[in-house]
Symmetry: C2
Subunit: 396 residues, 2 copies
């Protein structure tokens, strides 16, 4: 095949980096070896025989290294590493969704300019190959929507609260102990991690890049016992759902928010740290992909898949993006929601188009109605601070 061996310069040796190291060791890969790893703290004992450095220049100066694998937490630092690598003519495998979600247009341009690949399937759903499937398999014109549970940590917390009556704090601590949570847990429970993944997925699903600040994003942290009781009464469960859908007018809508999911939906049964993605098309109806979305070894083996794809000279072609009329993003659409609020002032922030159901008592007030995504987006910063909770509540 004439594919040359990959000599990897790696950045970061956290949970996923360690996972990749273990996986590569187990299969004793001939296609790829890790030559050097750049870490922040070079004095830390890691118990592995690897050449560590704390100077990025050591990696870039090494002429043997022909692939950069970037697995660090800091999005800003990751951006500079990836950019520098691409500009130096090196292909890159990255797992940093936050960085990708903010810089994809530029990084796509850099790939083309320098004729190198940037692969990041591992960034979107841990071990589920959703990006490559969207890129390679699903015809854009037939694709209707992608909807999923993209964050293992928040889903783990919701599962523990609903199925095992954990308190929110205990559930979060348990997720952190198990290594599912991001080092900053607000990324998980605030919906940001899901948002970043949704942005990456949308680029490959609909050829449309929408920057993070344009999308309504709302997490699970303010959910309380009344909200949980409401879900149980309706025989539904909250799931933190990331959603992109093409409307009949050709525009796409996107959102990340808790959703009251009924029992007959695929994602109802996605429990614990698992991820699940439902891809809906005009003719093939729905496809469901399910797997581990977090954890060092599952994500590490997803990174390995990206590395192997590099070995076979695979590149994303961004087929839906290049040479097509750009798809437009809109938030001009009504969503049916459940809103629990505590006072009239908070309530007044929400401009409902219609209200179906209202309940008011001293310690619990809620309503069910339709509201535009644009309105939710406009007030999103304010409502995050308040004693209220909002979730999408589809009629079925």
């Amino acid at each position: 095949m004439g594919n040359k061996q990959l000599t990897i310069g790696m950045f970061g040796f956290g949970n996923v980096g360690r996972g990749l190291y273990d996986v590569l060791n187990t299969i004793s890969s001939k296609e790829a070896i890790i030559k050097r790893v750049c870490v922040r703290d070079i004095t830390k004992q890691r118990g592995v025989k690897i050449d560590f450095t704390d100077n990025a220049d050591d990696i870039f100066a090494d002429k043997d290294i022909n692939l950069i694998v970037e697995l660090i937490d800091d999005a800003e630092a990751a951006y500079h590493i990836v950019k520098r690598a691409l500009q130096s003519g090196l292909s890159v495998v990255s797992g940093n969704k936050k960085m990708l979600a903010h810089h994809l247009p530029e990084l796509i341009e850099l790939q083309r300019e320098h004729n190198v690949a940037l692969l990041y399937d591992a960034s979107a759903c841990g071990s589920i190959p959703v990006i490559r499937n969207l890129e390679e398999y699903y015809d854009n014109d037939l694709l209707v929507s992608v909807k999923g549970i993209l964050n293992g940590s928040s889903n783990f917390i919701l599962s523990k609260i609903f199925n095992e009556n954990y308190s929110y704090d205990v559930a979060l601590r348990r997720a952190q102990e198990l290594g599912f949570a991001e080092s900053d847990p607000t990324l998980d429970i605030g919906g940001w991690d899901s948002l970043f993944k949704l942005i990456i997925i949308t680029v490959h699903a609909f050829g449309c890049y929408v920057s993070p600040e344009k999308i309504f994003t709302y997490g699970i942290s303010s959910m309380n016992d009344n909200d949980i009781r409401f879900a149980n009464e309706k025989e539904r469960r909250y799931k933190l759902v990331a959603h992109v859908e093409k409307l009949d007018n050709g525009k796409i809508i996107m959102s990340v928010m808790p959703q009251l999911i009924s029992r007959d939906k695929y994602i109802y049964s996605v429990e614990d740290e698992f991820n699940g993605v439902v891809i809906k098309g005009k003719f093939y109806d729905k496809q469901f992909m399910f797997g581990r979305g977090a954890g060092g070894h599952p994500t590490g083996s997803a990174v390995l898949s990206d590395i192997m794809a590099c070995f076979y000279n695979y590149r994303y072609e961004y087929k839906r993006m290049i040479g097509r009329t750009p798809v437009e993003y809109t938030d001009d659409v009504l969503v049916r929601v459940y809103l629990r609020y505590s006072n009239a002032e908070d309530r007044a922030l929400f401009e409902f188009a219609s209200i179906e159901e209202q309940y008011v008592s001293d310690d619990y007030k809620y309503l069910v109605g339709h509201i535009s995504l644009a309105n939710l987006h406009r007030i999103s910063a304010q409502i995050r601070e308040r004693d209220l909770f909002i979730a999408a509540y589809p009629t079925k």
Copy 2:
């Protein structure tokens, strides 16, 4: 990209062919057009504006045609069409699993010899992109097993029997009315259709071609009320499961047979005409893919995905097969089974290694025990004729 438009010469205009026609029409594809279709009965009214012929030579003589799409029922005829096309330097998309399962080694060789592609993702699981995922994403060395419900028709029948108390005959007739069943239903309910798909999947999963007659294949047609009662008592359901697994000794085992599935398994909830595949790996644990495995439109859009892959010059690389030590097939392994039998003579065919449970009454006799796959394979032709039923019965 410089990809040239695909001008398709098609063979067959049945359920899937018609589905493909509809899908192509809906998206008004610029990348691919159907120029001519070869059918058996040219006089049949089909209500579409297509140039039909009943002479294969008309297709092969047409210099505009640069892609053959083969969607006919007859495996022998399909083989000759596909072989002729590849030898003429034409790439081919085929949905004929029976033909592929019998001739893959030769067809792989022909692709290489004539530098053309033969794509057949549509053949294995309708709309689930299982082959391309195995080929592209899962690293062979990490792959442990692929297990799935690969036949929509038999699964539909099992669902109707278990959930809606249909009789076997009514369920089969309903499947045929809905267009899920093969024209010869024994292919579905005898497990043959699943077997052919399993053979194709195994080539891409483990780089190993095993011919159909070597693999124990047993269907659902002799299941009776006692068997159903047994499953219900154990809180399990029969599913017709195709299974390939790599043993610790590096050899692979394969089988197609009904299996008593417990509630906590992914495939337990795969109902009706749906297919579901569980891919298990060393590090990523289990992945589950789920979707429509039958029907004209879902399969038609899978064929379209293969066509689009041709447009982008995609070819299977048979990475696990080429340049690697061949993986060996074995049936020297014990399986835990449930066997219902009616007389001592039939019972004597089975050489159990161990028996855990026996029940004997006038109208119902069964046992649970371990038996080698080799023994089952040896007697498979005989047991198909008898009043007995056997299903795998894993301990959990």
